[in-house]
């Protein structure tokens, strides 16, 4: 059932808090609105009892600390009417948005994702030169193509166990004798090279390249 707009005025009328013209209007209304009159009669009976001496006694004083904080929260809540809240929130949101828009965003841009070899690698693929596939003897160097200026390349070579980790600014790395001696004919190995920019950001990566040293005889 829809609520009559006058219902909210019942207390004001019963407590004599209406202006004379409002009172006249309200009184005329309850002569034609049975629902309001019934609600008012019911409420009046309660209000008359509440206003009697001794039914409601003065509540005990609250502890100062508790009332202090609650009073403060209450004052803030009482102060924050929807209009005031909007007056605070909207400008604040605009300032935050403006600051966010003004923040420079010039950080390093991550290279695109590309598919290379046996999996997904980040950055452009580095073209490898040698060794690849099958070689006649243990290679003396690992070589790839340059992907830019002032790049540091990190190279790793492994068989069943890691054999070499090296970094260089060249596009090839010579295998030390010790590492080369561990490359045995008939076995397979793999190597990979990664390119880093001067600020340390990964720029490009090769796939893991496999090669096999042909068995003798």
């Amino acid at each position: 059932m829809r609520k009559c707009g006058y219902e909210d005025k019942i207390d004001e009328y019963l407590l004599d808090r209406m202006k004379p013209e409002e009172q006249t209007d309200f009184e005329e209304h309850y002569f034609i609105c049975r629902s309001c009159f019934e609600k008012m009669s019911e409420r009046n009976e309660i209000v008359q009892v509440l206003r009697k001496e001794g039914v409601l006694v003065r509540p005990e004083a609250r502890p100062a600390a508790a009332s202090g904080f609650r009073a403060w929260v209450g004052r803030v809540l009482a102060f924050l009417t929807p209009c005031r809240l909007a007056a605070v929130v909207v400008p604040t949101a605009l300032v935050v948005l403006a600051v966010w828009l003004l923040i420079p965003r010039g950080g390093p841009v991550a290279p695109p994702l590309v598919l290379s070899g046996d999996g997904t690698v980040r950055g452009a693929a580095i073209p490898v030169v040698s060794p690849v596939a099958e070689v006649a003897e243990a290679p003396s160097y690992l070589e790839w193509k340059a992907v830019g200026e002032d790049i540091e390349y990190q190279v790793s070579l492994a068989g069943d166990t890691p054999l070499l980790n090296a970094s260089t600014k060249e596009t090839r790395v010579v295998l030390p004798e010790e590492a080369r001696a561990r490359l045995k004919p008939g076995n397979s190995y793999s190597w990979q090279v990664r390119a880093f920019k001067a600020d340390g950001a990964l720029l490009a990566e090769s796939g893991r390249v496999k090669f096999r040293i042909r068995a003798k005889g």
Binding site: D11, L15, R17, E27, E28, Y30, F31, I32, C33, F37, M40, S41, E42, R43, N44, E45, I46, V47, Q48, V49, L50, R51, K52, V55, L56, V57, R58, P59, S67, R70, A71, W72, V73, G74, R75, L77, A78
Partner: protein, 166 residues
């Protein structure tokens, strides 16, 4: 006899307004006024007379018609009383014993329910109804929002009504 919009004869419809007229008269004259019931009877009689003589032509609703008569009669009564009271005060009225007992019983029930309410509700009722503070003043006194005051008042009244209803 003519009938109102619902087909009820007008004199019956008018008599059905007795509680509304009584409320208005008591509010204006005060419940302690001994002859408020006489005033109500006079209003009802006057209204029925007007219908019979054709003075009420149904241009307004029955409610509005009775409101106008009630208001005029209250003003007349206050004017007369102002003159009479200068000479002698009226004796107190004799209330109907049955009504009085029933009313007292309901009041006792209301008081008992109020007593069982949580302190936060009693506190608001005390300040709002007994101390006669406005909603905003209660809010300041308790450190809560005016809206919360209304919520607590309405909730407490709702609980009381629920407990008192037969």
């Amino acid at each position: 006899m003519e009938a109102d919009k619902k087909g009820v004869p007008l004199d019956e419809a008018i008599l059905g307004y007795r509680p509304v007229i009584s409320f208005r008269v008591r509010k204006a004259l005060g419940s302690a006024t001994p002859d408020w019931e006489d005033v109500v009877d006079e209003i009802l009689t006057q209204a029925i007379e007007k219908v019979k003589t054709g003075a009420f032509r149904g241009e307004s609703s029955v409610g509005t018609f009775l409101y106008t008569i009630t208001t005029r009669r209250i003003i007349d009564h206050i004017r007369q009383k102002t003159k009479v009271l200068r000479h002698a005060p009226e004796p107190a009225s004799m209330p109907d014993p049955h009504d009085e007992t029933e009313s007292r019983e309901r009041a006792r029930k209301i008081a008992s329910v109020v007593n069982g309410l949580k302190p936060k509700f009693r506190e608001v009722l005390y300040l709002y109804y007994y101390q006669d503070l406005s909603r905003d003043e209660v809010a300041r006194e308790l450190g809560i929002s005016p809206r919360r005051v209304s919520e607590r008042v309405n909730y407490a009244i709702k609980l009381i009504k629920k407990s008192v209803r037969p």
